[in-house]
Amino acid sequence: MIVEFLVAFIFVLSIIMMAYLVRHFVFSLTVLGILRRKELPAPKNIAYEPAVTVLIPAHNEQRVIGRILQRMTELTYPENKMQIIVIDDASTDDTGKIAEDYARRYSQIHVLRRSKNVGGKGKASALNSALGYAQHEIILCFDADYYPQKDVVERLVKPFSDPKVGAVQGRVTVLNEPQNIVTRLVTLERIGGYRVDQQARESLGLIAQFGGTVGGFRRTLIESLGGWDESVLAEDTDLTFSVYLAGFRVQYVLEAECYEEAVETWGAYWKQRYRWAKGHMQCCSKHMFKLFRSKNLSFKQKIDGLLLLNIYFMPVLAFFLWLSGISLFLLDFPQWINILWGPVQISLLSFMGNFAPFFEVGIGAYLDGRKRACWLIPLLIFTFLYNVLICTKAFFDLIVSKIFRKKHHSWVKTTHSGNGNCYIL
């Protein structure tokens, strides 16, 4: 009985794992130009330059807030069409002071200070508080540790000329890549995610993901959705699916690049990914059934959405698959499992580096001309193993919170050292 159960379990999980492997294989072929959907006529030379509001939520970001505010004053977008709101979210350091200093010098910069009573509850809460102060229809969002290219606003607002575009997402790359092995591996993850994954999903007309930063959305749309859901830790994924379910789409703009200060320690990596994993799992339970019932999504978008919503469960399942496989081999096993086991192992172990397989990360690095970065691909196996632990803990914590009907999940902020400043030319 146990053997039959394990065989069935392994078989089902193997199919799921291989579905992900095929998905990433298709993505890799797509960015290489081998698979591509029919090109839509690109809106070229459109004089579309709307007024925009830029939101910068910041909680204890004194080491990096000056960097992004300085960059905001250097953007090529017309100053009179920009309203920049820094949300000082109950900071206990000099974040507010530095922002106020910039606000005094530049008329387009404004500071919204949140007291300890109402602030410090996470990004979604901070963004909701600023929504009422935003004057313009197009709202862009940047995290405080980011450093955008000068014409990023032009590139991000252009897709909004299409009324079906509800949100846009730009590309995230790592500023402090040479710092240490953690930042180098995060760089590879980002390459796989943004150079291949997001670009392929955009090209294939699937679910391009809004990443919460280096992106924008329509104010009326977010208001009609009731603002950000403060109970969800991954407010970006939540917004992505809300946008698609509302009949709009997210457009990914590869050329709109912005540098981030990546986490520098394994401890910080754990905290950040734990929040992402838990938030993503929350989104899965929130949107899964709505996704299937939606009439605004095509069949392929539903399949892609399903795979995207469940991606953080995969390391957990990989862990159980591995245990089941070993148990089965030690007990007894049907011969056909032998044949299945090899590809399954390739599939599950290829969920390394933020779940992009090694070949996808490699293709991304190649397309970016990152010759030296390719050498580090084998080390992504460690981030995969680390993610197995992170996601498994997030999964069990979420189950416990569901059992005890705990609705509030504490937001653990990623600390930024400001070390990325030395990499700015």
């Binding site: 044949i339 090899g342 390739i346 490699g362 690095a365 084998p378």
Partner: protein, 131 residues
Amino acid sequence: MKAHKWKISHLIIGSLIGLIMSSAIFLSHLISEESIIMLVIFNLLFISLIFPLDGPLSAKTILLSAGNIIGFAWNYLFYLFLYDVTISLKVRFDSAFIIVSPIANLLWIVSFWSISLTTLSSSKTRLRCET
């Protein structure tokens, strides 16, 4: 964004070489079925994703051949090594082989993939932040 042309001639030649090498390895009966499956997966990924990239066909052909030879040697030596280990530790060979062999294969496949891309990759430095 520079468009990457699909080098169909490279793909056809790569597929032929992959087919010949896989057949030769299969007919040698020196490595297990599981190892042959891993080599087929390696060939499939390598031919479909590396051969369309820019770079001379000769380099790609050498890399593909080297990959197959390394994969074959790796699996053969691993088989012999594990056989000795299981005998000395008195554990079941088939179970140990099935559990460990995919990981052992992944080690050489990912490393070889990384080396191949480095070989083919252009050394151009990426534009940083602004041009």
